[in-house]
Amino acid sequence: MLRALVLFLTALLACAAPPAVAQDSQLQAILQTHADEVADPGRRSVGPLIDDLAASGLPGIARFLDRWSNKQVFLNAGDGLFYYGARDGETFALRDIASDEPVGTAPASALEEIRPNGGVRRVIGSALVQFQLSDPDRATRVDALDALARRPAADQLEPLRASIEGEPDPALKARKERLAGLLTARFGEGTETRVAAIEDLADATDIETRAGLNRILASRSEVAETLPEGVNLARVLEIGPDLSEADAYSRLVDDGLAPAPVTNAEVKTALTANIQNGAVAGIPVEQLSDPDRRTEAYAALAASGAVPPLVTPEAQAEAVASHVFYEVYEDPDPVVTEAARSALDTIEARVARFQVLDIGLDAVSLASIYFLAAIGLAITFGVMGVINMAHGEFIMMGAYTGYVVQQIVPNYTASLVVALPLAFAVTFAAGVALERLVIRHLYHRPLETLLATFGISIALQQLAKNIFGTQARPLTAPDWLGGAWVMGDVVAIANIRIAIFVLALIFLCVLLYILKRTRLGLEVRAATQNPGMAGSMGIDPGRINMLTFGLGSGIAGIAGVAIGLYAQVTSEMGSAYIVQSFMTVVVGGVGNVWGTLAGATLIGGLQKGIEWFNPSNTLAAQTYMILFIILFIQVRPKGIVALKGRAAGD
């Protein structure tokens, strides 16, 4: 309405001149040739007009057809020309039929509204599809295809086929061909044509094809005393596994094949309505708290005809037993439905394989996150026998570092490049400080270290809350990390997760390099396996501890940036990951990069696996996972990759 007003005003300003200055155009010319058919279209007579329009190849034809069928085309009695019109109070704003430019206004009395009937609209609609499908604008073609896929109809098949030839975009061409196949499968002439089309579809995995095949297999539930002959039977429902007895009975009631059961509430209402002198049918009201007495009273009322009789459970069971419940395909052709079923089965088997792949990739990306979150913990635990409860807060610290950097550096890519090393530096420093100030004084008292670092953890968490507030802070990923990698409509992995996987891989390699190829790594490994011996060989345990603690904390900071990119940054984000990280370390085994990798893989895979079985419930998935871990410890108390022999220090 507002827009109409604006248009009207614009029109007034632009064309203060007399209204309806016709702009001659080819389209108007064609319409004038068929003026009678346009003004009063009939289902049969409209054909030649549309053919002419199609033959002309003019640009505005799709728009015209669309508006024509939507009753937006008017005949101006004054000049006998056709216009697009929009009501604006007492007058109409008119637009040129070819250029869609405003040309002025006209009073309602001067205009004749053209109202094609339903049959004509359908003819126009299918013609319109053809125009849209061949529209030079790609977006229009995609819209048309989407609409077609949503509401397939038999008469769209021909226009669709006709548009395949001229389609320049290979992807759209393939989609058109597939849709044509689907339409043929559904609306094609003759069983063989349809079956052939269905068989051609069996190698697809996309949602459109699956939905299309499911439409062919649409069925309705029916009930009868005996199974009827000559219907395309989908399946017979068994009472129990397929259909509960109560549902079956209510279906009988719906179909008028059995009397409606009297509900307890109805019984109560009936009894209440029939209280006479403190009794119902001779039974005192006080006794009606007993269900048996109620039944008795109701039966007495029913016997007197005051209320409909109770339907006993036995009667219900009998009624259900004497009927057969079944489903019938909407499509009457059994050969076609059979072919569609087998094609769909083939597709679904393939989709299931893709889903397994999808879950697998999901699990890998989750495992990468756990690996990043846990590896620092594993290193410090392995080398120093210290569990750092503040590890989660180091993750949080890294994420907030990323957030702060993003406030200063507006370019997301650049800020990420700055944030990663900065987060490492900040948390490395925090880790070294923690080691020097606290943990150093608590060697050989692992439980007390656990508690002291916990004290640090609550202080840091509250500090973050005081500084950054309680609401979540966004850490925005650059655009190139925004999309997702999609495969066959089933597998979809967010690019950010792929990036985290790559990051985890890089850290795995870097850590392996540090541990296996550098002097520091040698000393760290020595300290892990035999601290006493390492000390007596001149390795300064204080320095090793400080560096490993810093390294572990630094990686936590990096993990924080990575996690912050796809989850929200809050002061509590650390505690969400800390237990999973512990689990990863415990399951994987202490003091070994590969162990942590194995642990992360197992935990990530397990969590995704459980979620797959019970997809709606992440909480339950975590519960079961923890139970699994407790049981896993029974089998392998030292984790997957365990140090053996005397070095294990049992």
Partner: protein, 408 residues
């Protein structure tokens, strides 16, 4: 008993102080005395006594037996849930019966139950009782659950954990995982315990509708005090004598105890389960005073706080645990409740509601570093100065953690 008190003079001190404290509170409470202490503060004190009880249990399992359990607040919560189920059921039953009584026709038992169920589970979109609630109508059975549920969980979990020789930090993490699993499970609406809504209205004791809360609160206060006293005696008995020797031996050198022929796992299981049961009982007394229980109360952080209390109070001394739990939890409610005055630094105003946790965390680190014996250690110092006797250091010290041959 006499021998127990003689060998452990702190018992008399403790019981005497507790009795004096109870009398004092009773004298100052609204219902029974001058009213200088508000009902809500009586409740806070009663709850604190329950926390002291669970802290003693924690002290026994950690300070004496060396198992840093991060699961005892879960047992505490389970006890609360067990009693909460009865409280909620019985109270809803009273309300529902009253509303149904006005109907023209008296309700059937099934109708009453359905009405209770839809009243209780309406918030989670259910209207039927889950199997968990099978005994909720019976106080006796739910009281049995208060003991059985934490006890059995501790027994099964402990058996699995101890059997596989999981010790030290590993064991702590495992108990934390158990706690997390439990709280996550309870957070689900499908758990049958009203998901994150928890159980509420527990302060209304069924059958005591006419009794004012001021009386209920002082009654619960006394019951909590008696429970604390009994718990203190029980644990003082357990950790004295040969049992105490073995348990402390397990803490200091598990392998050596094993070579003496003791089935270490059995002793650990005994201590773990017994303390879990006491924790459950403490929870069953706590939550009717708190009025509400929800899964957040069971989250691992709660159990860690419990360890913090015990550490600050002083491990390896029962009174230390009491001092820690009472002082830290009361201080905590003073600071977070806005009782502490804000400090204006000129450029920044320290509001304790925001900074209390920072202070607690840092002071906890300080205690771990500089006063590993906690506040209880100060009492020892005073006692020693007054009566220098042969020291009976019951606390774990550095020598206990020295690497020994049997442990290598």
């Amino acid at each position: 008993m006499r021998a127990l008190v003689r060998s452990n003079p702190s018992i008399l001190w403790f019981l005497g102080l507790l009795a004096a404290f109870c009398l004092g509170v009773t004298f100052l409470a609204e219902a029974t005395g001058t009213g200088a202490i508000s009902t809500s503060f009586v409740k806070t004190l009663g709850k604190t006594l329950c926390l002291c009880l669970v802290a003693i249990a924690m002290d026994v399992v950690w300070g004496y037996c060396g198992i840093l359990s991060l699961g005892h607040m879960a047992f505490f919560g389970l006890g609360g849930y067990a009693i909460g189920m009865w409280l909620m059921y019985a109270r809803t039953e009273i309300i529902v019966s009253a509303s149904l009584a006005s109907a023209a026709i008296p309700p059937t038992p099934q109708e009453v139950e359905d009405a209770i169920a839809s009243q209780i589970f309406g918030v989670v979109g259910a209207s039927e009782f889950p199997w968990l609630w099978a005994f909720a109508d019976s106080l006796v059975l739910q009281l049995a659950m208060v003991v059985l549920v934490p006890g059995l969980l501790a027994l099964v979990f402990g058996w699995l954990a101890f059997r596989s020789r999981v010790t030290g930090v590993y064991l702590s993490i495992l108990t934390q995982a158990m706690t997390l699993a439990l709280s996550l499970y309870l957070f689900q609406n499908a758990s049958g315990l009203r998901g994150n809504n928890g159980l509420s209205g527990l302060q209304n004791i069924p059958g005591l509708g006419g009794v004012p809360q001021s009386v209920v609160s002082i009654a619960f206060f006394w019951v909590s005090a008696v429970a604390l006293a009994l718990g203190y005696l029980l644990f003082a008995w357990v950790v004295s004598g040969k049992m105490g020797s073995v348990v402390r031996g397990i803490r200091d050198n598990e392998a050596r105890v094993r070579f003496l022929g003791y089935h270490v796992e059995g002793f650990k299981l005994f201590v773990f389960t017994l303390t879990a049961i006491v924790a459950g009982l403490a929870g069953a007394l706590y939550y009717p005073q708190a009025g509400i229980i929800n899964p957040a109360e069971i989250a691992p952080i709660a159990s860690i706080y419990l360890a913090v209390w015990v550490a600050i109070g002083g491990r390896g001394r029962l009174y230390g645990a009491v001092i820690g739990a009472a002082s830290v939890s009361l201080l905590s409610s003073w600071f977070t409740g806005g009782g502490a005055p804000d400090i204006d630094l000129g450029f920044y105003e320290i509001q304790w509601t925001d900074w209390w946790l920072v202070l607690l965390g840092l002071s906890f680190v300080a205690v771990t570093l500089y006063a590993p014996k906690g506040i209880g250690g100060l009492i020892d110092l005073v006692a020693e100065r007054r009566a220098p006797s042969r020291s009976r250091d019951l606390g774990p010290d550095a020598s206990a953690l020295r690497k020994t041959e049997a442990a290598e």
